[in-house]
Symmetry: C2
Subunit: 284 residues, 2 copies
């Protein structure tokens, strides 16, 4: 799949530098090195692109994450003290304006910075931890445990039955919007099993033949969205009203109309969300 939101990043993550402390420090001291400009977690745009600045002369390696290298130039982000708040309207507007690869760079930076801000202490022993591996981990000085950024897999899926697709509406959605159902994958289950479980839990729908469609990182705060289609055994619904306020079966024509901007039946998620891609793929 091409063109998915938050994919297409151009930075080489430069894994060997993460295991080379002097090399990491030298990269930060490189006069060509660039620092991502953030206002807390908001990207600060310059002419419709991510804004970058020079590294301060007194910059300390332990305050920085190596995002990666492009054309020999190391790119960094600086740790933020507090975790990210939710997405703002300004953030959404900025994401719309970014080219795909730029949004990917921002997504990786946001996820890893937010992880540091939420994981300053050792879950094993409670002591304060410190960054290592060029900002791609934290280590506990008391018990030696190494911690690495979380990526939480989420399944997001359409059940289909007799030419119609199941969409749901969460109370927090903008008015009129419906989207694919979704939920966190749990320990001890495959992608396919998580799809089956979530569709039954949220909508009472039994499915078979789960097919993988596409995946996308989602930096709010750090999910891996895994999009699938499954075949429903019938179209009876039993909605879990703690999760959804409504669920509907929609035809391909209705999905095509909604994707074309006609919100009379329902509105679709924005183009940078994989649910949009999933609906496009299903409607074809």
């Amino acid at each position: 799949m091409n063109g998915l939101g938050f994919t297409g990043g151009r930075l080489d993550r430069a894994d060997p530098l993460r295991h080379d402390e002097p090399g990491f420090a030298a990269a930060l001291a490189d006069p060509a090195a660039r620092l991502l400009i953030l206002n807390e977690y908001q990207p600060v745009m310059a002419e419709g692109r991510l804004g970058w600045t020079a590294i301060a002369p007194d910059a300390r390696p332990e305050d920085h994450v190596l995002l990666g290298i492009e054309d020999g130039v190391p790119h960094f982000a600086r740790l933020v003290a507090e975790p990210a708040a939710g997405r703002s309207v300004e953030m959404i507007a900025a994401l719309h304006a970014l080219a795909a690869g730029e949004a990917a760079t921002y997504a990786a930076a946001r996820s890893v910075l937010d992880w540091h801000a939420r994981h300053g202490f050792c879950a094993r022993c409670g002591a304060a931890t410190a960054p290592f591996r060029a900002g791609w981990g934290r280590r506990c000085p008391a018990c030696g445990t190494e911690h690495f950024p979380r990526v939480d897999p989420v399944v997001i899926m359409i059940a289909e039955h007799d030419g119609r697709a199941l969409l749901g509406r969460q109370p927090a959605f903008p008015p009129g919007r419906y989207s694919a159902l979704a939920g966190f994958l749990e320990p001890g289950e495959s992608i396919e099993e998580a799809v089956v479980r979530e569709l039954f839990e949220e909508a009472g729908v039994r499915v078979r033949d789960v097919r993988y469609i596409a995946s996308q990182p989602w930096p709010f705060p750090s999910s891996l969205m895994i999009a699938c289609v499954a075949t429903a055994l019938d179209d009876r619904l039993a909605i879990d009203t703690t999760e959804l306020e409504d669920a509907i079966w929609v035809s391909r024509d209705e999905v095509r109309a909604a994707l074309a901007g006609d919100a009379s039946r329902f509105g679709v998620p924005p183009a940078y969300a994989i649910a949009h891609t999933l609906l496009e793929t299903w409607a074809r």
Copy 2:
């Protein structure tokens, strides 16, 4: 995909009970309730199946995880003080003997128990945390942060070129074994991007057209294995010797022979590992 190791569990995870503390306590007090018998983290088999016993009369909800419900009977596991050690030879033998659905139940239990043992403190503030949600989370009494079990997505993949597949050998493998390359997916990348990055990092191979094949939970300690095939642009190799001690291109006939037990060229991973399924799928 059917028949993958650690899939096919029969327990209903009973999500509503996780949000119903009195219901959870009542399920634990149900005379029919069953407790998974473990010796530390080793399954204790009875006639080739997982062993279960009754819940002790003085059992405390906060020491237990609700694994799920089958035929109205709640199934539990009891928290273990220390994290799991590595896989033992006895463990591997036991896994071979278990039916698929039983191994899935064990895998979920092992992953979540091990997560509790490794996450007794709040990563946000350092205070000791306590289980909640029927053992599927921990909450910090000091700062209120809720923590949930990790699932770490791992890509495992074959690059193919001109009818041959790329396999690698890690130093820790048993003598003669080769397998698909693998690595952790990172924040800010899709499954497809992680496959491209890992194949280049570990073997210097550039690929396109990443295709998803299957997925599997892997409870050592708590990974989601995501198996893919990708098309290599050429067959030149540049092996990262910190990860692999060798990498080879093998033909379909060679893979078929190895799967049939002929280890003269190389030995394959065991049947419960998704690399085995990936090789079978590719060889067909």
